[in-house]
Symmetry: C2
Subunit: 321 residues, 2 copies
């Protein structure tokens, strides 16, 4: 099992996977079984081996046990949805909501192509425009109060059709839209493959980064969708291509490359959640500098001198000790 | 500058220092200046060098720059305070509050000795009993709603004299009590030194751990106070002793030792915030096992082969590569 540094969780409030792992056990290359921490919620007892292992993609050891922090189910929740004329408007609302100090629990952005995919896959009839989905939690009164505050922000940024639901079944149905987004994409092109990529930028740059990326995606002959964990400044694209057509594969790679470079030019990261693997190794030096990569390589060499743990992943081959 | 893994922050909601560092720059032993991450709020781009450096106590490199995550000041806040007949009652309320799902922003516990110190230092007349202090944030209505919910929990655990304030000056004055707690201790024994220690246990064990430690502290001839970041399961003691009397220094060390062992027996950590230094090296093997310490030593040796970065700290000398 190989935990990534960030979960694909939709929840802004509860943080990433990294924030919710209390400790873990891992088997290292030399056979040592390492327990990385106690069960206390916080600790200053030595190097943070828990965080070092999370997102190391199996290159430092095999994770065999994880202690997770439990979160109380919220007393009450409201799920809301609304539409926008442009993706920039939608991203601006996500930013304004986060900056307003409202403790929104989830804020998810779907572009019009993604909504179209959901309509095709699930026989829905949603307006095919950029869409935001929210979850507000707390007491009943507070969840309502937040809903109204965000409704006001939505109105200030050309948003429309603001709806919210409180009934358990209705909430589940609304979130289902988001949860099945990835599979819905394949309904548009059932025989195609998908290049799935994610980047993350400082929240203040999100609208600009999504808009620029979206312009390029829209101009491409390939079908591309955008889904964002907008509260974190993190967004994903699904780029569909015919695996039998080399020029489509190259075009998908070009779009991915454009998106990553746009994010890096805004002090962002080439991957917010998905990890490096082999596909994003080539961006790490631009993002972090050779010194950081050399440091990673030294750690890797110290813990796995024979390079037997998921070799060839994460650290670019040109990095020397 | 050497960041610890956890800040001494009182805020439960905003997490520890570790959670609020976006990236940092550090100079390593070989002169490499390493940037540990982008400015994105989350990233899966390689090993988490940010978290590795935080709390490494200067043994891996010198931190020269830190990018912190900013938090919006809450729209509204309420500060509350209440008294309890026993420290266990107070800890039980902190646990119940956290487990209820109430998004309390701060919950601080002070024992009767600490309150006495505050009375002496600041000419106050607070009831010298175990005391809890809370901060609730959000909208005005939500802060009030939380206040009432916690007041109910307090009533269910023998709490009394529940007061809350909303006026900015009154809130500042109330928090001042907590903020000056450490210095107030010296008002009781101006010529003494203090042994200050902290441990952290799973929240569910907090009441038991504090009660057991408190029993031992109360039975000692030394004056000892307890202050807890109760929402995190983290608590501190200040043990006052005459530096000219060796038996007092030994007694302080014995109490510290007792507290650490009590925490470790409950799957806690020997230090929640303060760090290891040299004083707590001897507890690390019991807490983490020799395999974790060997892993730390390997990382240290890989990044600082000549052992020039804060040598002799954090990793116990008996640990071999």
């Amino acid at each position: 099992m190989c935990a990534t540094r960030c979960s694909g969780s939709l929840a802004v409030r509860y943080g990433t996977m990294r924030d919710n792992v209390i400790n873990l056990k891992a088997v290292l290359a030399n056979g040592d079984v390492v327990k990385t921490g106690s069960r206390a919620r916080k600790s200053a007892a030595g190097y943070d081996l828990t965080r070092l292992m999370i997102g190391s993609e199996g290159t430092l050891g095999l994770i065999t046990e994880v202690t997770l922090r439990l979160q109380k189910l919220p007393q009450y929740s409201v799920v809301a949805m609304c539409n926008f004329p442009t993706i920039k408007d939608a991203a601006d609302v996500a930013i304004s909501t986060m900056l307003s100090g409202i403790q929104v629990s989830r804020v998810e952005l779907l572009d019009e192509v993604q909504i179209k995919a959901i309509n095709i896959a699930n026989g829905k009839n949603l307006p095919e425009v950029p869409t935001l989905m929210f979850e507000f939690i707390g007491t009943e009164a507070y969840a309502h109060e937040q809903t109204l505050l965000v409704q006001k922000i939505v109105g200030e940024h050309n948003g429309s059709d603001f709806v919210f639901v409180e009934d358990a079944e209705a909430k589940k149905e609304l979130w289902q839209i988001r949860k099945e987004a990835l599979w819905a994409c394949f309904a548009m092109e059932p025989n195609f493959e998908a290049m799935i990529s994610d980047v993350c930028v400082p929240l203040s740059r999100l609208a600009e980064c999504i808009s620029r990326s979206k312009q390029e995606l829209d101009a491409s002959p390939l079908v591309c969708t955008v889904i964002a964990h907008a509260g974190d400044g993190n967004f994903h694209t699904v780029i569909l291509f015919d695996p039998n057509r080399e020029e489509q594969r190259r075009e998908a790679a070009r779009l991915n490359h454009f998106m990553v470079h746009t994010a890096l030019s805004m002090e962002g990261t080439c991957t917010g959640e998905h990890g490096v693997g082999t596909g994003k190794m080539k961006y790490l030096e631009e993002e972090l500098g050779i010194e950081a990569l050399r440091t990673m390589k030294r750690i890797k060499a110290a813990l796995d001198p024979n390079n037997i743990m998921n070799p060839g992943k994460l650290i670019p081959p040109h990095v020397c000790l």
